[in-house]
Every structure is written in C-alpha cells, then in structure tokens.
C-alpha cells in the first residue's frame, strides 16, 4: 500500500482507495450489461404474453423467461450488490480493500460462472426456468456455472468483512459504523446465509444431474427457496441502506434514532431466511404449524422491520428538510424537494412502490390460507416486480446517478433524459405491476405461453378483461424497459465516454451533475439546537416529522383494507381443509 493508491473525494472529502474503486467499477459495469440482457428479454416476454401479438414460439418463450430471471434477479442485482459492498466497506469509511487480488479472483469466478450459465441457457440446454425444480433437468454445466458464481460472491462477502476489520484496526473512522454501512453489513450477513443455502442445494443438484445421487423434489423446493427468497432479503437490506444513503446525499436526511433503525436491521438477519415458506404454503410436504410460523417470519418480525424503515427513512428525509428550513406546513418538505434530481425521484418511487404495492401484496399473499387463491398466478410476479424492480432496481438506478460523479468522476450523460428516466421506469413498472396483479386475480397462471389454450384438449375461456390487462402488462413493460434502456445508455456513455466532473463550486449548478453534488445539503452549525426545537413536546404527538406520520397511517389503512378484502374473497371459494 502506498500513498498514490489514494485520492480525496472532492465532494465528500473522503479518502478513496483506487484499487477498491476499480473493482467497484468492474462489478457495476457487468451489472449494467446484465441489466441490458434482462431488459431485452423482458420486452420479448411481454410481447408474447400479450396474446394479440404472441411474439415468441413456446420453446423460446420459456427459454427467454429463464434468461430474464437469471440475468436480472441474479446477475444484475448481485453484481451491483458486490459493487455496493466494496464501496460501503471502503469509500464510505475512508478504508482500503484488504485483498484486491482476491477481489479480482472473485470477480473472475462470478463473471465466468455467469457467462457459462448464459451460454448454456441460450443454447437451449437449460429449459428449466429460474427455479430449475428437480426433477426437471438441465445440463450439468448450468448448475456448475451457478456454483462458480456463488463461490465468487461468497468470497466478496469475505473481503467485505475483512475490509471492516482492517478499517477498524487502522482507525479510518471514529465512533460506530455509519448506518448505511451497518445496512451493508446486514446485507452481507444475509448473503452468507443465502449462499450457504445455495451450496446446500446446487451442489447436490449438480451431482444429481451427473447421475451420482438423488434429490427429493420437495426438499429441493424448501432449500432452493432458502436461497431464492433469502436472496431477495439481501436486496431489501441493500436497498434500505441505499435509501438512507440517497436521503443523506440528496436532501440531508438525518437518522432519527440509531437504536431503532439498527434494531430493525437486526430483525432482518434474525428472521429473514424463514421466508422460504412463502413458496411452500400450498405444498404437500409441510404441516400448517410449520407453514404459519415460517411464513410469518415468526410473527412478522421482518415485516415489522420493514414497517420501521418505511417510517424512519421518509421521516429522516422530512426532518432533514425541516432542519435546513426547506418547506413549511405538513408537506412543504416534499413540495420543495429536488424532484428534478434523478437520485431523489428514484428514492421516492422506490420507497413508495416498494411499501405500498410490494409490501402490502407480499404480506397478504404470503398468508397461509390466502395463498390458495394466489399461488402461481400472475399475482406472484406482480408482487415481486413491485419489490425487486420498482424497489431495489429503482434504488440502484438512483444510486448510480450519484456513483457516476462520485466513483467514476464523470458527468452524467444525456442529463435531460436522466431527469425523466426514474419517472418513465417507475411509471411503466407501476402500470405493469397493477395490470399483472389484477390479471392474477382472474386466475391467470404465471410462466405460461398461451392462455388461449389453443392446443389444449379442453377449452378455457378467460374473462375478456384479461386480454386488456395483458395488453397493459405489455404496455407498462415496454415503457419500463425503455426506461431501463435509457439508464443503460446513460451509464455506458457516462462511464466510457463521459466528461470529467471538473472543479466544483458549491452552489453553482452544472449540467450533468445532480444537485446533491453541486449544492450539497449541508446542515447549519446550530443544527443540534434546531433539532431540539423540532423534538420539543410542544410539537405534539405527531413529533418532528408530522407529514410522514400522516403518510404511514394512510399506508396502514391501505394495508388493512387490502388484507381483509383478500380474506373475504377467499371465503367465497370451495370449502377445503
């Protein structure tokens, strides 16, 4: 290690380790390439499910569906998360990467594994969809590719923890880890748990594909979802960490109470891997007691965690605005917010759609009995596109608008498009998710090439409304994919051909730089006194963030209505026990 390995960030004054930064860049670039592949696949899929167009033949529909799942949910998301882990454990705490060479070895393993999986899938040797439920069988190299990828990801988690240990020993920061880094630690711990489930299922399945052992189909489903669902909780933890980061960077969001926010992260770690049960509620292998305890994360303790972050993140944003004197009245802090900053608009869309749509539908359909009217219908992808796409991917895109100037030290290209990109992406996804969810309530199956059943022995006549809904799925999907393509174009142009950010003068706006960079939301010197005033008992029980308090009660009301309407609908079907 020598001094030239470091530079000082002109915006945040943090000490940046160049070898760590290069690794962040490499992971981010591969993530964006994966996003491009996944988005092209998405367009082909929605144009097939729109029955009037019905673009792909059956074989290619299922193949591309597998490609879409792996490229988006595994490669895009996890490569990006590796970038986040390395960034959080180095740049955010002035630290260095403990083992840069191992970092590159891990990157090579992940890239090699991902490439192998893509090649095998496109070659038609793994038409088993994302879940590859045994005894559907793929080429052994498919499972091997996933194993290599997972080993690489596990190594990055190890490097992440090593970075933190080294940072603590070298005293690169004083006090406790920042909350954002704490969120990243949560994501990394869940990632280790998840990847161990992955090893426990993909290694036996690899051996099974070679004819060396047996794998029980029900056991496969349980352990596979220990990987499949828990990996979504890595996304949740990483996303919430990014919420806190974007709030701080865009409008100076503060942490209301460290104890509450950190305890909520701990709840994620303790209960999240029980969520495998969400996928097994109408399975024959488990009894009701097991299903109820597991699907509820032991009495919904992980849901409690999300409901806490769903309050503390916007409340921290509101308080950050009030402390800087921005906006008056109940919602002035939102009206006066920087809506033209893509980092900020992405953050708001991510929080709102994740909570109101993804969260409410997720908890409801993950209820043991309600799952009877939901399992494997379009309501399921409707739910998870609201969480992992409108929530996680949107947050990652928002973070990228800040990482381009902060990490790559480039201006954001096509700035005019960048400002509207979050609106396009979030708007398209919202149309897509709502249409899909409603189509699902008619019993339309997910992962299905032809719901006109033209080649089936018996006719199935769906309500004509379903055709309209599936057309809207396509419309929303294409708008969102356009948003994704614009994002990819912006990222590629900025990173490879972008203008350097140049010298910054605080307060002077620059085209291509978000306002949080050119005009950082700094709090005044007397911020503690102002904070004290806003917390004074005279402020009433709504407290220092009354606007957020009103919003969370609107959320709770929507939640209660949706939850009990579903019980009512369930009570109309056949008696089953």
């Amino acid at each position: 290690m020598n001094a030239t390995d470091f530079r000082t960030c002109p915006v945040t004054a943090r000490r940046i380790h160049r070898p760590a930064e290069t690794l962040v860049k490499a992971n981010a670039v591969v993530a964006v390439v994966s996003l491009l592949i996944g988005a092209i696949a998405a367009v082909l899929l929605v144009l097939t499910r729109w029955q009037a167009v019905h673009l792909l033949p059956a074989e290619w529909f299922y193949r591309i569906l597998g490609v879409h799942g792996m490229s988006m949910l595994i490669f895009f998301i996890i490569f990006y998360e590796m970038a986040v882990l390395i960034f959080a454990s180095t740049a955010l705490i002035n630290a260095r990467i403990a083992a840069p060479k191992l970092g590159w070895a891990a990157f090579a393993l992940m890239l090699g594994g991902a490439t192998l999986v893509e090649v095998i899938m496109w070659a038609g040797k793994a038409d088993v969809l994302f879940t590859s439920y045994v005894p559907l069988k793929a080429d052994p190299l498919y499972y091997l590719g996933i194993i290599l990828f997972a080993v690489g990801a596990l190594l990055v988690c190890g490097i992440f923890f090593a970075n933190l240990v080294v940072a603590r020993r070298e005293q690169t920061y004083t006090g406790s880890l920042p909350l954002v880094v704490y969120g990243a630690v949560t994501a990394a711990i869940i990632a280790v748990i998840t990847l161990l489930h992955g090893a426990a299922i993909y290694i036996p399945t690899f051996l099974w594909s070679l004819g060396l052992m047996n794998v029980d189909p029900q056991v496969y489903r349980m352990i596979w979802w220990g990987l499949g669902h828990s990996s979504q909780q890595i996304n949740v933890a990483a996303m919430v960490a990014i919420w806190y980061m974007l709030g701080a960077l865009t409008i100076g969001a503060v942490v209301l109470n460290e104890k509450i926010s950190r305890s909520a992260f701990v709840l994620y770690i303790l209960f999240i891997s029980m969520a495998s049960a969400h996928h097994l509620l109408v399975d024959p292998g488990m009894g009701s007691a097991w299903k109820i305890v597991n699907t509820s994360y032991f009495m919904y303790m992980a849901v409690l965690a999300s409901m806490i972050h769903g309050f503390t993140v916007p409340a921290g944003m509101e308080l950050g605005q009030r402390l800087r004197g921005v906006g008056t009245g109940m919602f002035g802090w939102l009206r006066k917010a920087p809506w033209g900053d893509p980092g900020f608009s992405s953050l708001v869309f991510s929080v709102v759609v994740f909570g109101f749509v993804g969260g409410i539908t997720g908890v409801t359909i993950g209820t043991e009995q309600i799952n009877i009217i939901v399992h494997n219908t379009l309501r399921v992808p409707g739910h998870f596109h609201a969480t992992v796409v409108s929530g996680t991917a949107m947050a990652f895109m928002g973070a990228t608008y800040y990482l381009i100037p902060l990490v790559f030290q480039r201006k954001v290209a096509f700035w005019g498009l960048a400002k509207i990109q979050p609106y396009l992406f979030a708007g398209g996804m919202f149309i897509f998710v709502m249409s899909m969810t409603f189509a699902g309530t008619f019993g339309v199956p997910r992962r299905h090439w032809d719901i006109s059943f033209s080649q089936a022995p018996f006719d199935v006549a769906f309500n004509p409304a379903v055709d309209v809904l599936l057309a809207f799925v396509a419309l929303g999907g294409i708008i969102a994919a356009t948003g994704a393509f614009i994002f990819v174009a912006i990222a590629v142009k900025s990173v490879f051909f972008g203008e350097p950010i140049g010298t910054l003068v605080p307060g002077v706006a620059v085209v291509g730089l978000p306002q949080g960079i050119t005009n950082p939301p700094v709090h005044a010197a007397d911020v503690d006194r102002r904070n004290e005033e806003l917390h004074a008992p005279g402020q009433g029980w709504l407290g220092p963030a009354p606007g957020t308090m009103v919003l969370v009660f609107v959320f709770l009301a929507a939640f209660i209505v949706y939850f009990f309407v579903n019980w009512k609908v369930l009570s109309f079907v056949w008696k089953i026990g």
Binding site: N257, S288, Q369, G443, D528
Partner: protein, 193 residues
C-alpha cells in the same frame, strides 16, 4: 437527550443507544400490533375458516399413486370425453387425480355440497393444480400425496390448468372437473363463481 444530529453516512459518536421520540415509539408499537393481527388470522382461520391447505399428507411412490388412480378409475368410470375417462365417485370417498406431462387423469364428476378427499400427486415433475375459474391453487409434487377435503359449493363445468412449468408442452395441460347439482345436472353456463 438527542444524539448529535447526523446522516446515515456519518459515524455516530459515543453512545447512540438512546430512547426514541414518542412519535417513533408510537409507530413501532402500532406496527407491532398489526403484525400480531396478521399472524393471529392464520391460526384463527384454521379453527373458524372454511379454506385451509392443511390436508392429509404423506410420501408415496409415483408409480404406486398412479396405479391407485387407475384402480379408482376402473371402479367408478361412467364415460369418457376425448379419450379421458369420466369418473363419478360416491360422496365422502377418497378420489385420485394424477398429474403427468401434459395431462390430468381422470375427469372427476362430483356432487355439489358433498365432501370428498381429493388426493393429488404427480407421476413425473412438479405440476400446479389450478381450478378454473374458482381460482384454487395447489402445488403437485412427485413423491408426495396431498389429500385435501374439498366440498364444491357450486355446480358447473370446471377446468384444471397446470400453473407450474413442467416442460415445453406445459400450456396444453388442461383437465376437467364436473360438479352436478342435487338434480344431477350441470348448469349450461360453464363454470362461474
């Protein structure tokens, strides 16, 4: 009382384990209460509700389950439709439905308002039992017998869609369930709830 005001990117100094403001504590308490309601509904519905996925569950050899299905067909067959046997078992009996790529065997004819124990299993890969248009869905896993007490509450001509991907012919996999009313007839309108 308060910690030094800071953002999520700053390291909090000193002891940050401090009491939260009343408003924040209120929200945490309300959220916790709601979580308990969410949880309590499930055991409550087990006792009071009419729809539960509990069933009678056991492991079974796929070939043995299929043999049992064929025996069941022989016992109660009353006709066929496009080569698929139609089976009318007496109310209260155990009835068998085997899923295989890409068909549901046999066609079941049931009586409205009578209880049956419906056994579901697969001869090959995972399948998804989705009763259309009632929208009742169960996972069908090879090697496992899922016995569900079902009572059809309305007469009609229903379909079983496969909603778990089972291979390239997945979208052609449709079965049939007929429910007759107390006069022994099927309403002319297909299905409907």
């Amino acid at each position: 009382m308060l910690t030094e005001t800071h953002t999520g990117l700053d390291s909090p100094r000193g002891n940050w384990w401090k009491p939260a403001h009343k408003s924040e504590r209120t929200w945490v308490a309300i959220a916790f209460g709601w979580c308990i309601v969410l949880f309590a509904m499930m055991p409550l519905w087990q006792v009071k509700g009419g729809q539960n996925p509990s069933g009678i569950r056991r492991k079974v050899e796929p070939a043995a389950f299929f043999a049992r299905t064929q025996e069941f067909i022989k016992q109660y067959q009353i006709g066929d439709d496009r080569g698929m046997p139609i089976v009318a078992p007496p109310p209260g009996s155990d009835i068998y439905l085997t899923a295989m790529s890409f068909q549901w065997t046999p066609i079941l004819q049931l009586e409205q308002g009578k209880e049956y124990i419906l056994h579901l299993s697969s001869l090959d890969v995972n399948h998804g039992f989705s009763l259309y248009p009632i929208n009742v869905n169960f996972q069908v896993v090879p090697g496992y017998d899922y016995g569900l007490r079902v009572t059809p509450t309305a007469a009609g001509d229903f379909r079983i869609i496969c909603n778990e991907f089972c291979g390239i012919g997945h979208h052609t996999m449709v079965g049939r369930v007929i429910v007759v009313d107390s006069t022994g007839t099927v309403p002319s309108q297909s299905g409907g709830i």
